[in-house]
């Protein structure tokens, strides 16, 4: 992944054209709706958010492997920060700081060259890091000679690191694979389409609540519709991973279709348990960072290990 590679990479350019086309089309439709007097101001707000985020995503991937890994690592750090602030763990800078350092270490592990295999990204240490990080987090109360309230902090820090840091950072490690453009752009594109499909199918056909205690607006119909849409996407985007066979395409669709919604519901019950609506306000019309990347956190590691199992990473 370099700037020259991106410029001559058909996969990257095709995605750029597809997303640019969708964005332009949506802009025209929204403009037409505004002209005939429909109130679409809230959709405009969301649309403007996309106008900022999409160039950022493409720009980062365009800049290459290092930028992509740093970008995902920063996203993971800020996701964890939102989680830490929402739960109140952020007040304890020992735990928060340790997890920051640990997520940075994941980024470094994705960046460096494996000293034995000489391949890009040190896979072994990336997968072993949770052992050392969890051990360090468990040590903090001992070092500080404290007991009161420590289990809650340890638990929140471990969930924060493993879920928002480690699982999410698998996305960064995918930048080390030969099909990095295809994998990354497929995942980002498909996860967003899955979100939109769940919302749209729910609006159109929604009757039965999916998980009313967690997210009352989601419906079984919307969820099944999203899985159906996500199952077709890999076939349409087969050019992203020409080496995939039918089984790979089915799995890629299932992982995004189911994983995306599970990730969404995970953040939903975390928010509901804490008693907040959004994880913060970063992107106007989209809530906090976590409200945007929640679906990716589940998808990235499972897709990663599916690809690794069937095709290897290099």
């Amino acid at each position: 992944m370099t700037i020259e590679a991106a410029l001559s990479n058909d996969i990257f350019l095709t995605y750029l054209a597809i997303v640019g086309g969708i964005l332009a089309f949506a802009g025209v439709v929204l403009g037409a709706l505004t002209l005939i007097g429909k109130d679409v101001s809230s959709i405009w707000k969301t649309y403007r958010g996309w106008l900022v985020m999409i160039p950022l995503v493409f720009g980062t991937i365009f800049l290459g492997r290092t930028a992509t890994i740093i970008g995902v690592t920063l996203l993971a750090i800020f996701s964890f920060k939102e989680f830490a602030r929402a739960t109140g763990l952020y007040d304890d800078w020992w735990f928060t700081g340790t997890v920051y350092v640990a997520i940075t270490a994941l980024g470094v592990a994705s960046l460096v060259t494996d000293p034995r295999l000489q391949s890009a990204g040190w896979y072994g240490i990336f997968m072993a890091l949770p052992v050392y990080v969890i051990a360090t987090i468990l040590l903090i109360p001992i070092i500080r000679n404290r007991a009161k309230g420590q289990l809650q902090r340890v638990a929140l820090a471990i969930v924060g690191f493993v879920y928002f840091g480690w699982m999410f950072s698998h996305l960064a490690f995918l930048a080390n694979t030969p099909y990095a453009y295809g994998y990354l752009l497929y995942l980002i594109f498909a996860v967003e389409i899955n979100d939109v499909a769940a919302f749209t199918c729910g609006k159109l056909f929604g009757l039965h609540k999916l998980r009313e205690n967690i997210s009352p607006n989601k419906t079984i119909e919307g969820s099944l519709g999203a899985v159906a849409v996500s199952m077709t996407i890999p076939w349409l985007l087969w050019f992203s991973f020409p080496h995939f066979e039918a089984l790979d395409l089915i799995l890629a669709g299932l992982i995004v279709g189911i994983g995306g919604q599970v990730g969404d519901l995970t953040i939903s019950y975390i928010k509901r348990d804490i008693g907040i609506k959004d994880m913060g306000v970063v992107i106007s019309g989209h809530g906090g960072i976590l409200d945007r990347v929640d679906s990716m956190i589940f998808v990235a590691p499972i897709f990663f290990h599916m690809v690794r199992w069937f095709h290897g990473l290099s």
């Binding site: 809650q152 348990d273 994880m279």
Partner: protein
């Protein structure tokens, strides 16, 4: 099993600009790191570029909350006072800054809130409310408030009359007020210049004053203001 209690911060729904303007400020690790770094750089800059000399540093209380007041000739006043305060207290030091000037835009708010740790003071409309924020801040232990009782920078070098806010804040309380005087600020950074000139600065820190013996009324407020004004003027003549 009993449920855990979570403590999400009050500014969780605030945008970046809102949380920068909000006070009291929520602690952010990155902000603390940036502020500490800025304070270190500032110390070097003030010592090398302005050859800042601080007299009477031992008049600063070791612990507890207190107020620093100073004549106001330029932005260098705040920067000199921040340099005089021990580095570890920098995150608990709040220069009261005019909200209409220092919090007027996002870059200015970011600079004021992150680097200077300024307390947005409304000198036009809600002065009483701003004073209340100040006294709440000082009610917590170990906070330092920096106030320029003249309310604005002088253009001539003559010290302006002290406004009543400082008097209302401390009359009848045991809050120590430390009068300070900075000499050389006007030459170094007059109001209309964009950047300071490398002139020498001299900060004199006076002895702490308390006004617990006074009753809370308009007369004693005026007396407090007059007293403090005289003390700053004294530092000026003794320091020159």
């Amino acid at each position: 099993m009993k449920e855990w209690k979570y403590h999400p911060p009050p500014d969780i729904d605030a945008t970046m600009l809102e949380s920068l303007r909000d006070f009291p400020r929520q602690p952010y690790m990155l902000v603390y790191a940036m502020r500490s770094l800025a304070a270190l750089l500032l110390r070097g800059w003030m010592k090398i570029y302005h050859r800042l000399e601080v007299a009477g540093r031992n008049n600063l209380p070791e612990s507890g909350s207190f107020i620093l007041i100073c004549n106001h000739t330029s932005h260098l006043d705040t920067l000199s006072l921040l340099t005089a305060i021990p580095l570890k207290k920098i995150h608990h030091t709040f220069p009261a800054a005019a909200a209409d000037y220092f919090f007027s835009s996002l870059p200015r708010s970011a600079m004021s809130a992150i680097l200077i740790n300024a307390l947005p003071f409304d000198r036009k409309v809600k002065g009483a409310e701003s004073l209340k924020v100040c006294s709440q801040l000082l009610a917590n232990d170990g906070n330092i408030l920096i106030i320029f009782p003249e309310g604005t920078r002088t253009r001539t070098g003559e010290m302006g009359r002290f406004r009543s806010g400082i008097g209302r804040l401390v009359v009848g309380t045991d809050l120590p007020v430390i009068p300070c005087h900075l000499a050389g600020g006007l030459n170094a950074w007059p109001k209309r210049r964009i950047l300071p000139r490398p002139h020498k600065l001299r900060l004199t820190i006076g002895a702490p004053q308390t006004f617990i013996h006074l009753e809370k009324n308009g007369e004693s407020v005026r007396a407090v203001c007059q007293n403090l004004e005289d003390r700053v003027a004294q530092l000026r003549s003794s320091g020159a």
